[in-house]
């Protein structure tokens, strides 16, 4: 069955870390809108990485019918050398049971999940194509201003090991290496996404692929745990499907609000956990209800974190978390 055109709205939180840093600004949070605005951002690449890594972990052998390999991945030779495009594609072909056959647009779209869903620019000596993916994400932006903190610490290991001097006496450091980093107490991001039905037909994306994408957003966020990236939690995932393949509401993220408002986040005691905030989806609910009344919606599904307090209703089916 053909995939419906649709939109995605994904809301996630991060605690005690920064999920996507700006190397041009001492690895502080990405500030697209400036200090005065205060919001921080998260690139689409970062979120697509979460999905890719989740699918890679779930289906290391390619999964059912070998359809879920990940092309865009870090893989090395036994000597530690990174594989390039052609070798990565060749490995997928081998693991799909097609060793010796050359990777073409059709075969790669069939076996590489991320190419099928996000698109790819593939250019090697004998094969070259540019495929726009049916799924595109925008950058995620925080729903409130964020103040990051500069913190410092030490590790127990020094930067240099002990070594004997010319008299045979052991020389070494007295203390471990000092580290510094930016950190933020708590942030809530909203990310828009679009799914284009006509392109999905072209790349042969099916409903299973879309369901895996949604699962990957949710569970890939949960699995993306590292000290610097903070504790990440998916809060709300809304998937809107349209009956008309060309229709789109657009800008769903403009219709949700986080309470408390701006002043509380800039004050001395900003919210520091999911329990401290409420997501107001009443504007989104009205928008979707209007579209539903005009016959434009095929289906609305949403997944909600049990810890999230929400005001307003989303006219659709609440699904169980994966």
């Amino acid at each position: 069955m053909a995939v419906h055109s649709g939109e995605i709205l994904f809301v996630k939180s991060v605690k005690d870390g920064i999920p996507n840093r700006d190397p041009l600004n001492e690895s502080d949070a990405r500030r697209i809108f400036g200090e005065e605005d205060g919001r921080i951002s998260l690139s689409d690449v970062s979120i697509k990485r979460d999905v890719r890594d989740y699918v890679l972990a779930k289906y290391p052998d390619g999964g059912p019918n070998k359809r879920f390999f990940i092309f865009c991945r870090e893989e090395r030779t036994d000597e530690g050398k990174l594989l390039g495009r052609e070798s990565l594609a060749k490995k997928i072909m081998e693991r799909a049971g097609l060793a010796g056959k050359s990777a073409s647009r059709e075969t790669l779209l069939q076996y590489a999940y991320d190419m099928r869903i996000f698109g790819a620019v593939y250019s090697v000596q004998k094969e070259s194509f540019h495929q726009t993916g049916p799924v595109q994400f925008g950058w995620a932006h925080s729903l409130h201003p964020v103040e990051t903190k500069y913190v410092q610490g030490t590790v127990v290991m020094p930067s240099e090991d002990i070594k004997p001097n010319e008299k045979g006496e052991e020389q070494g450091r007295q203390q471990g290496t000092i580290w510094t980093t930016y950190i933020l107490p708590f942030v809530v991001f909203a990310m828009p996404g679009v799914i284009n039905g006509p392109i999905a037909s072209d790349t042969k994306v099916d409903d299973t692929d879309i369901d895996l994408l949604l699962e990957g957003l949710w569970r890939g966020t949960q699995h993306r745990q590292a000290r610097g990236r903070g504790i990440q939690q998916p809060l709300l995932l809304v998937h809107v499907e349209y009956s008309d393949p060309f229709f789109r509401i657009g800008y769903l993220e403009d219709h949700i609000r986080l309470e408390p408002g701006r002043e509380a986040w800039l004050g001395g005691t900003p919210p520091t956990s999911v329990q401290d905030v409420t997501l107001d989806v009443s504007g989104l609910g009205v928008l979707l209800a209007n579209a539903q009344n005009s016959g434009k919606l095929a289906r609305v599904r949403y997944w909600k974190n049990a810890n999230l307090e929400m005001t307003g209703d989303i006219p659709g089916t609440q699904c169980e978390e994966w």
Binding site: D22, L24, S43, V45, G138, V194, N196
Partner: protein
């Protein structure tokens, strides 16, 4: 002349300047080639063809920011040491444009944009800069014939070869974009360039037009929309 008026907005835009490699600089506002591509996406065609005239009005100040992102590219083809290739990109922040369109696809575009439809994705230069056209209105605008009057006022960007002299206004800030690509021929090949003048905050530009357009430069036309204000289509 019938003009379709719609708006485009987004949190980000990136209109990559082709003459930049290590750092991907952006044009300050949507180029003609990107807008043609976006209209082609709305209609579901690979390439917008035929006679099309567009005017662009900036509805938010031009503001850009640089970000470094990890791209996958030359650095990992052939076994370099790192999986990611750090690349600096310049982004336009909170872009918003009012677009005026006249041409042979008027009815189809009005039908699609007016019904909140697009065949393919629409974005502001790069796929992660999502946007969606919002229909505003259809207007009947009267074309101004040559020789043009001595003074005009517009909020749309202007081909610099249409301006004989600017009449600088207090509080205004003018910008010029040089060498913006003019026409996409397909397969990422282009022909021609155009230089444009704009007011950085999207404010009114008062100017003395070239009385009779040159036949050697990209064509343009002026139309009355309200009061003394004109729009420039090119």
């Amino acid at each position: 002349m019938r003009i379709l008026v719609f708006e485009l907005k987004g949190s980000l835009a990136h209109f990559r300047r082709p003459d930049t490699t290590v750092t991907h600089a952006t044009y300050p506002f949507i180029p003609r080639t990107v807008l043609w591509g976006l209209l082609g996406s709305v209609l579901g065609v690979e390439q917008l063809t035929g006679e099309n005239w567009i005017g662009i009005q900036l509805m938010s100040p031009v503001h850009t920011v640089a970000q470094e992102v990890s791209m996958l590219g030359k650095g990992w083809v052939g076994g370099g040491g790192s999986f990611n290739r750090p690349t600096s990109i310049e982004l336009v922040v909170n872009p918003r444009y009012r677009v005026y369109y006249a041409g042979e696809h008027f009815n189809d575009l009005k039908d699609m944009i007016g019904n909140s439809c697009s065949h393919y994705h629409t974005y502001l230069g790069s796929a992660y800069c999502l946007t969606f056209p919002r229909y505003l209105e259809t207007i009947e605008a009267e074309e101004i014939t040559t020789p043009y009057p001595a003074q005009m006022s517009t909020r749309t960007v202007l081909p610099s070869h249409s301006v004989k002299q600017l009449d600088p206004q207090s509080g205004s800030q003018y910008g010029r974009v040089g060498g913006m690509q003019y026409q996409h021929l397909g397969n990422r090949t282009f022909s021609g360039t155009i230089n444009l003048l704009y007011e950085v905050h999207g404010g009114l530009i008062k100017f003395e037009p070239v009385r009779t357009p040159s036949l050697d430069a990209p064509p343009y036309r002026f139309l009355h929309i309200s009061g003394d204000e004109v729009i420039c289509l090119w």
